[in-house]
């Protein structure tokens, strides 16, 4: 996963910070120098890094040390917070027009992944009940139109094309076509271009003026280096972007470009591309990403425990729900998301009677891909289904599998595991006996 190396680096740095008691300014400087190196190695733009370090230093050297934290932990907390802020705070959604059709334009450099992302987005929207239309406006790259058509066929989404005609005319005609064919989302795939190619940038401006898109998405390769800021700045200045899609995050790129691009444009990263397959598009979670950067280690959870009374409140609620047998798939998903974020599940379970001593929890092995699949499945369920899993029969299972890009067997397994987990947790909260069977639950995370 991207950010893993960075996470490791930062974690190492933080480990050094911890347990040193009071931090002198020199200690802070020393740690921040390492943070700086880690960020640069992750391809975060140089200026962005500089700003970041400055901001953290200003805050760290100032007062506000919480009584419950050591100064070292306080610095970590600030690094984490600033990183989260830099990544964009909360998760941003796609801008859909209240008056359909919504017009979406995909733009970016050559080879960033626009065509693939356009199709993934169409597939995602289709699975949410929309009627998307894709538009082949890359008239330059050989076989680009054919590529979109092939993908359209694969995901069963219509593709509008007019051969090698003027892209502005294509876009206009496509919107009219979409309106008469009651397509509620129109996704325009434009040709890759350099941000310094004036003529081609002007072409994008003309398309924008002709069809007034509700959303212009800049597609950025997560392997991009220092130049990411120039690219994003130029596209944003000409087009006023709505958001950013970060692609190829399934590689080992540390993805510093994500931080850079967000910092210079102020525009949110809305999606992350995580595979070559059509289901490889995910929402982008800035907080999760920031937490990953800092690592899920003991330092962060310590800080969280010390500062987040709110989470304890949540944990108590959960314990109550378990006792009352109201634990739903929604809670389950909520737990998984928190687990992915930080790993407080062990803390939460630790607060349940009889669970404090369960050793396996300490080395809970969280398989990211597995979590993603579970998340996708639950996300494809209706609210009713999540609250009342027993209504999920054969045809619903099939639909959920399709919607989440998984197989029916996956859905079956998840439902079974959920049921086991629920039973197990209920037993655990009710009696000590259940502990013997606790293996069943943890296999879920392997």
């Amino acid at each position: 996963m991207a950010f893993d190396n960075l996470a490791a680096r930062l974690q190492e740095t933080m480990r050094k910070l911890r347990g040193k008691g009071r931090l002198s300014e020199k200690d802070v400087d020393e740690s921040l120098r390492e943070v700086r190196l880690a960020l640069l190695e992750a391809d975060v733009n140089f200026k962005v890094v500089k700003d970041f370090i400055k901001r953290v230093k200003e805050r760290a050297v100032g007062e506000e040390v919480l009584s419950s934290l050591t100064p070292g932990q306080q610095v970590i907390k600030i690094v984490h917070e600033e990183l989260t802020a830099l990544m964009g705070g909360t998760q941003a959604k796609l801008q859909l027009s209240s008056k359909p059709p919504t017009v979406i334009m995909m733009v970016g450099l050559q080879g960033a992944g626009k065509t693939t992302t356009a199709a993934k987005l169409a597939r995602l929207l289709k699975s949410q009940g929309h009627r998307p239309l894709m538009v082949a406006a890359d008239i330059y790259r050989p076989a680009a139109i054919k590529q979109l058509m092939v993908l359209g066929e694969q995901i069963e989404v219509p593709v509008f094309s007019m051969g090698q005609q003027n892209p502005v005319d294509i876009a206009k005609a496509a919107v009219n076509h979409g309106i008469t064919h009651s397509n509620d989302v129109i996704i325009i795939d434009t040709a890759g271009r350099l941000h310094v190619d004036d003529a081609l940038m002007e072409e994008l401006v003309q398309i924008r003026e002709a069809v007034s898109p509700h959303e212009i998405l800049l597609v950025v390769d997560s392997m991009t280096g220092q130049d990411a800021v120039n690219v994003a700045e130029a596209f944003n200045a000409r087009l006023e972007l709505g958001g950013i899609v970060l692609t190829k995050l399934d590689g080992d790129a540390r993805g510093g470009a994500a931080l850079s691009v967000k910092a210079v444009t102020g525009k949110p990263i809305k999606f992350a591309g995580v595979s070559e397959k059509m289901d490889g598009l995910e929402p982008f979670y800035p907080d999760r990403m920031a937490s990953r950067i800092l690592g899920m280690g003991d330092v962060l959870s310590l800080i969280e425990k010390a500062t987040a009374a709110v989470d304890q409140e949540k944990a108590k609620q959960l314990a109550h729900k378990l006792k009352e047998d109201e634990f739903t798939l929604e809670d389950f998903l909520d737990q998984l998301q928190q687990l992915k974020k930080m790993g407080p599940l062990d803390q939460i379970l630790g607060m349940l009677p009889g669970m404090g001593a369960v050793k396996q929890l300490k080395n809970l092995d969280v398989d990211e891909n597995h979590l993603k699949r579970i998340e996708a499945i639950i996300n494809s369920m209706t609210v009713q289904e999540r609250r009342n899993p027993q209504i999920i029969g054969g045809s619903r299972r099939k639909r959920i599998a399709q919607g989440s890009g998984t197989r029916v067997q996956d859905v079956n397994r998840l439902l079974k595991q959920f049921e086991q987990t629920r039973m197990l947790m209920k037993q655990l909260t009710g009696s000590e006996k259940g502990r013997r069977r606790s293996k069943g639950m943890f296999s879920l995370f392997r």
């Binding site: 450099l109 680009a144 092939v150 390769d221 392997m223 280096g225 130049d227 470009a257």
Partner: protein
């Protein structure tokens, strides 16, 4: 021009210099006419790179005395050019030493030193395509998704054809939608032969057929496209290894060139690409594409310095005339002149 050497045994089609060349195909003629000389294009392509770098460099050094702050700022400049921290530090350490040894106190002097050091570093890794009289001369083109592999193959095919070689392109990307059509379009445009299987076919089978077809047809050059893949996907890297083994076996000798295509916009991940692709197949050189953008291409320095991978060719545009052999002196000159 190194191409000449590769085909010096040939007495057909006298090799024209690329600057004034035209080809038979109408499309090709059109493109060749509209494009200026390759050198001009390169200079144009690099001018943006040069401008950004030199301007800031000029700003940085002129009228200043040499001190630690200056060195640190130079290091920052190099990092901003994607040289990577270790290589930037190494270069600036050398500058520090030389400034001390040669008692240099003026900022402007430092500029000359840095140019020397960069040239030296680039020169130690500059190489052209291997010369070979074996036939067919086989090139495999590999890299991550969207790096510019297929386009580079179109450009290579054009150059070999200009040299009078009989070229065969093989569509080894059977995975990406319309990748086969894309390569076919290049083959048609340039006017060279083309071989493919269906989408979804085994790329090793394509490679097998390609080598044998090249032999049967008496092709001088065979260029094999491969699907873009992220270097962390072990199964896809293993697949690449298999394709390579098949080519090698059918050929009965080493593949002449295995070129890793790297997008100049790429940051430090290019090092991971260099490392892991080298583990899967014996990479013989790098093609650095998209140098016509504003990316500084400093990754060239890191790739050579840290991985010993020679850069052989650079891409400076989307036309098939937009390919140059990498020349360290020229590159450094274009950066600083």
């Amino acid at each position: 021009m190194f191409w000449k050497n590769i085909f010096k045994k040939k007495d057909t089609a006298p090799t024209e210099s690329l600057e004034q060349s035209t080809v038979d195909e109408p499309q090709a003629k059109e493109e060749a006419e509209t494009s200026q000389s390759l050198f001009q294009r390169l200079k144009m392509g690099l001018s943006k790179t040069r401008k950004g770098f030199v301007d800031r460099m000029e700003q940085l050094v002129s009228g200043r005395k040499v001190d630690e702050e200056l060195f640190e700022e130079l290091e920052e400049l190099l990092i901003q050019a994607d040289c990577g921290v270790p290589t930037a530090m190494e270069l600036v350490d050398r500058l520090r030493e030389r400034a001390k040894g040669e008692r240099i106190t003026e900022g402007d002097e430092i500029k000359r030193l840095l140019r020397q050091e960069i040239t030296a570093m680039l020169e130690s890794h500059a190489q052209s395509l291997k010369e070979s009289t074996a036939s067919p001369y086989v090139i495999m083109v590999v890299g991550v998704n969207g790096a510019g592999k297929t386009t580079t193959i179109g450009k290579l095919a054009y150059r070999f054809k200009q040299e009078g070689a009989k070229v065969l392109l093989a569509a080894g990307d059977t995975f990406r939608a319309a990748a086969i059509d894309q390569l076919k379009a290049w083959a048609d445009r340039v006017g060279v032969a083309f071989i493919s299987h269906q989408e979804g076919a085994d790329p090793a089978a394509v490679a097998y057929d390609a080598v044998n077809a090249a032999r049967a047809r008496g092709s001088d050059v065979l260029i094999l496209d491969t699907a873009g893949r992220l270097q962390t996907k072990t199964n896809l890297m293993a697949e690449l290894g298999k394709v390579h083994r098949v080519v090698q076996r059918e050929l009965g000798r080493d593949v002449d060139e295995i070129l890793l295509v790297v997008d100049a916009t790429t940051g430090q991940n290019a090092l991971s690409q260099g490392r892991m692709f080298s583990e899967a197949v014996p990479i013989t050189g790098i093609v650095l594409t998209k140098l016509d953008g504003t990316a500084k291409g400093g990754i060239v320095l890191a790739l050579g310095n840290e991985l010993n991978l020679p850069v052989k060719l650079i891409g400076v545009g989307e036309k098939y005339t937009d390919l140059r052999d990498f020349n360290a002196a020229e590159f450094a000159k274009a950066l600083f002149d």
